[in-house]
Every structure is written in C-alpha cells, then in structure tokens.
C-alpha cells in the first residue's frame, strides 16, 4: 500500500511539473511576458526596472526555475486590477465555488441515484425510457442555455427563486457560506441545479448500468432466498455494490464541476473563482489567470490521487489485493 502511494504521488508530481511547463510556455513563449507580468499602466522606467527584477533578460530555463521557485512559495504575481496577490484573491473566491460545486454534486446524487435505480430495476417501463432520453439531453444541451431557461421559468415567470448572487451568508470555520441562511439556500438552488445537470445524467447512467448488472448476481438472489425484504435487497445489497463506481466517478467529476462552474457563475452572477477568471480574461489580468489555472490543475491532480486512495479504502477487494502485493 505504501509503495503504491509513493508511486502514485510521484506520478502526480510529474503531471504537476508538466503543467507548470505548459503554463510557463503559455505565459512566456506565446504571450509577451512583459505584457503579462507588468501592469500596462507602468511607464518606461518602471518597465525596465521590472524586467530586470523579474529576470526577463536571463535565459529561458533559468526563468522557468525562478517561476517554479516563486510558485512553490505561493507567489504567483499580483493582480493588476485589484493590486493584491493573485493567490489571495483566488483563495477568497474559492469557498463560493466549492459550495456551489458541492451543492451540485449533492443534487446529482440526490436526483440521479433514485432515477437511475428506477430505470435499472424496470428497464422496459415507459418511465424508464423517458428518464434515459432525458439523460441524453442532459449530456448534449449546453449548460448556459439550460441556466437561462431555469432563470426564465423559476425566477422571471414564477418568481419562486432568486437568480443572481449568493444572498446573505453566515460564517462557519472562518469562511462565509450561503447554505447556512434560508435566503442563501434559496440563492443556491438554481445555480446548483444548473451545474449538476451533466452530473445528474452521468449518475443516472452509471446507476442504471450498475443496477442492471448487479440484480442478475447470485448474491442478490441469495439475499431474496434468505427472506430479506425487497427494500433491504435493493437498498443494501444492490445499492452498496453500485455506490463504489458511482462515488468514484462523481468524485473524479468534481474537478470538472469546478471548471464548468465558470459558466454557471457567469449566468447567476455567483461570486466565485469562475466569475473572477472570466472577468480577469476580459481585462487580461494575467497573473490571476495563471494562478487560477495552477490552482485548478493542482486540485485536479490531488483529486485524482485522493480518489485512487479512497477507492482502495471503499472496496474491500481492492484493499486485500494491496495488502498482498
């Protein structure tokens, strides 16, 4: 298990390194680093001083090492617009995005699991076909359009839910959260549903496939032969087996949920990192862009790593294999 952990950790580090190279090349080779790292408002003197200070006159590989060194120290440059360290700026916006992404994941499981279970237990039923057809739509519809429709129906026409912002927040562990206030929760609903659409479809398909496979297993029949109630057979024997792939995939998808929150946050004016990055791209606040990308990539890699480890904890069979190895 430890050997496995170390190996996975090394792989992850390599990918992070590769990504820093890509980002570095993106910033320094494709764009003009002077333009990227030095505020456009600076005058000629300041520019030259900054170029020397940043070491932009030195060879490229040396510059890369400096870039890496600074990044390791958490220094990813200062935002031109806010004149604050880019990293700090992003960390401030992160809780809002995380909250949205968690709510979306929660919705995906809350809605997707029962629907997938239904469709898997009654594959021939008309209702199941409707569920599956809808899940195809969830895969192919652009999420921004669905978001607009949600606003049109629930905020404008019916006036049930607010469509912009986070609403009032309350503090927990030193961070502001929307879900702690009733009104904040109401603000959270529409964006979370919008962001969860793709994942709902995914969970429906995974659950359905898993159920169809599992109900044919001998152990399900054996559970029935033991005289267990149908609900115990389904909710314990079947569900526990399909939860492993469903949780794994949902967790793996968490990273892309955060990435796609860019769209949802723009529509619902949700003040998270996604909104920040789009605003930063508009005004070419490049230190913030680089910092955002670095953080997202790190998050992705950490997520992959955690899921791999979690998977081996969740599935007793995997656990044993690792002990043997």
């Amino acid at each position: 298990m430890i050997v496995y952990l170390i190996r996975r950790l090394m792989q992850s580090t390599l990918v992070v390194l590769a990504m820093t190279v890509i980002l570095f090349v993106g910033v320094y080779a494709i764009g003009d680093p002077v333009e990227i790292l030095i505020s456009p408002d600076a005058d000629q003197m300041e520019r030259e001083r900054a170029i020397a200070a940043l070491g932009l006159d030195r060879p490229l590989w040396l510059q890369y090492l400096t870039f890496l060194q600074n990044a390791l120290r958490g220094d990813l440059g200062r935002s031109f617009v806010f004149n604050e360290p880019a990293l700090t700026l992003i960390m401030q916006k992160m809780p809002a995005t995380l909250e949205l992404a968690f709510a979306a994941t929660f919705f995906a499981i809350l809605i997707g699991l029962p629907l997938g279970l239904w469709a898997g237990l009654r594959p021939e039923a008309r209702s199941s076909r409707v569920i599956m057809a809808t899940s195809i739509l969830g895969f192919s519809l652009p999420s921004f359009w669905v978001g607009l429709m949600l606003i049109m129906v629930f905020a404008v026409q019916l006036g049930w839910l607010p469509s912009t912002g986070r609403g009032p927040t309350a503090e927990l562990f030193g961070v502001q959260w929307s879900f702690l206030t009733i009104d904040g929760l109401r603000h959270l609903i529409l964006p979370a549903i919008n962001l969860s659409l793709f994942k709902v479809s995914l969970v429906i398909r995974l659950t359905r496939a898993g159920v169809r496979e599992t109900v044919l297993m001998d152990y399900v029949k054996f559970a029935r032969a033991k005289g267990l109630s149908e609900s115990r057979v389904i909710f314990v024997h079947v569900l526990k087996n399909i939860m492993i792939p469903v949780i794994t995939v949902t967790a793996l998808e968490f990273g892309s949920t955060i990435a796609f929150s860019v769209v949802t946050e723009s529509i619902f004016a949700w003040p998270g990192m996604g909104k920040l990055i789009i605003d930063s791209i508009y005004v070419l606040d490049r230190p913030v862009i680089v910092a955002y990308l670095m953080i997202i990539v790190l998050m992705f890699i950490m997520l992959n790593f955690t899921v791999d480890v979690l998977y081996s904890v969740l599935d007793p069979r995997v656990r044993l294999q690792d002990q043997k190895a």
Binding site: Y219, K221, A225, G227, L228, K240, D315
Partner: protein, 325 residues
Amino acid sequence: MAPTLEVRGLRTHFFTKAGVLKAVDDVSFSIEKGKVLGLVGESGSGKSVTGFSVLGLVDPPGRVVDGEIIFQGRNLTGLSEEEWRKIRGRDIAMVFQDPMMTLNPVLRIDTQMIETVLAHEKVSEQAARARAREALTQVGIPSPDERLKAYPHQFSGGMRQRVAIAIALLHRPALIIADEPTTALDVTIQGQILYEVQKLCRDTGTSLIWITHDLSVVAGLADEICVMYAGRIVERGPVDAVLDEPLHPYTRGLIGSVPSRNVRGHKLMQIPGMTPSLLNLPPGCAFRTRCPRADDDCLVEPAITEPKPGREVRCYHPHLLDTVA
C-alpha cells in the same frame, strides 16, 4: 404422515421474445420429513428452475403457470410477495451453486448473517449475532467471532459454502434446497461438506432437495431420486433401486457414462446427440431423438406409469429386467 413438500404438476415457463420456453413442464414429486431427495439432470434440464419455483424466486420473464406446491399442508402458489418472503429463509432455505457468487462481496459476514435472523425474528442484535456464531460453529468454521468480522473474499471457496450453509441453517428450516452446492469445490472439500450436510439434516430433521448433475454424489446421500430431462421428470424412485435397475433409457445412459461404475478397459457408454433446445422441443418424448429404443409410439408424449411398485417412469419402453438382453 403428510410429506414436508409435495409438488404436483408444476409448470414454469419463460416467456422470451424467441418464444415460450418450458423450463419445467409437469413436474411432480414429494419429500418426507428428514429425507433427502436427489434431483438429477443435465444442465438446462430444469432442475434449478424447479428449485427456484418452490421458493417463489423465478425471475421474469419466467413464471409458474400451473401446478401446486404444497408445503406442510399449505399451497404456496398464489401467495403474496410478503407471504413468500416469510417462508423464504425461515421455512425453506436455499444453498446456491457457486459459493464465490452467493455472498455479497461488499458486506461483512456478520451483516449478512444477522440480517437473515432479523428478517424473520424480532430479537436483539446481540442475540442474532450469537445465533450466527453458533451456526458457524455448527458447520465447522474455526474461530467464528473473528470470521464474523471478515469479508467474503477473505474465505476460501469451501469456507464460503460453509457460511452459505450456516446461513441456510439459521432458522432451522423444514426444507433446504441445495442447488449443486459442491460442484464448484475440490473433491476433498466436497466430501466433507456432503458428510456434514447429511449429518446436520439427520440431527435436525430437515428435509433436503439436492440438485445435481452428478449421480455419484446422490448415490451416497439421497433416499430417493428424480431424474429430469428437458423440463420433465422421466424417472423417480428409491435411490438404490434406480441406480441398480434404471428403467428409463436416459437414466441408463447417465449411469453408464459414470466412469466409476464401469469396469476398467470397457468403453464408457455415452448418450448420442445433444440436449435439445427447450424452445423447440420435438413433439412426443423429448428424449426420442437420442434414444436407442425410440419408435413411432414415442411421437406421442408418454404418461407417467408405475411398472413396478414405488417406481415411476415416463417411457413406453422401460428397461424392465425381463426385457434387458
């Protein structure tokens, strides 16, 4: 005394897209308290479906279409799902063929045993656990306390089958249906389990239906045997009588093809041809196309006759002693 189980004219058909598959077609047998009935046949002869029918566990598109299943004087056909559930595991238990598949891989042994107890009795969890421990000891599993906390994959195949048998014994059922429970095991373990099951049944007065394709297994175990072919019982009688003097040509073929019963150097007898597809059985006797004794009479389905006391056979030309050359 009334038999523990009496099955009369059971028909279980599968309504598939390709047509109606008559997996069990007019099957009748009965079993006394504490006796062992061997249900013998090739794969696809309907013996497993017969077992599942008695438990009310035929999966769609299959359905019991006709017949009576009288268990302890009560007709089970037409029971509600909840009434069936109360019988399963408590009055009639089942042991499956593949021990690798019958235990749920993601649930611990104690969970799977305790839920069986609690499904039928309102006892405390401690009491249920004590029962589980006792049952494990009964089937010869050492250090049951430790084993209860283990997952199925931590057991060998033979051990798992013992656990499955222990689960079947939890409620001291009046009848256990064992569907080829030793086929997937090593020969030595097979012998141990056969011996123990026989002992347990004798001690507790449990009746046993032992489903197998292996005549040598039932030879030492069963009191009575039924030979099935293509969904019908073709011969039924006390085990010694049937094995010593098989009446039906098919039984004769089966016995002839068991190596141990032949003298060394002699050619093993074999039954020509293949098991017919149940979807399009030829009219008349299903064994007709492979039978050395078939003639035009066999084009009409033969009825069950009793050419000798206690012996039943479904054939126009049984091998009665005087006719054997």
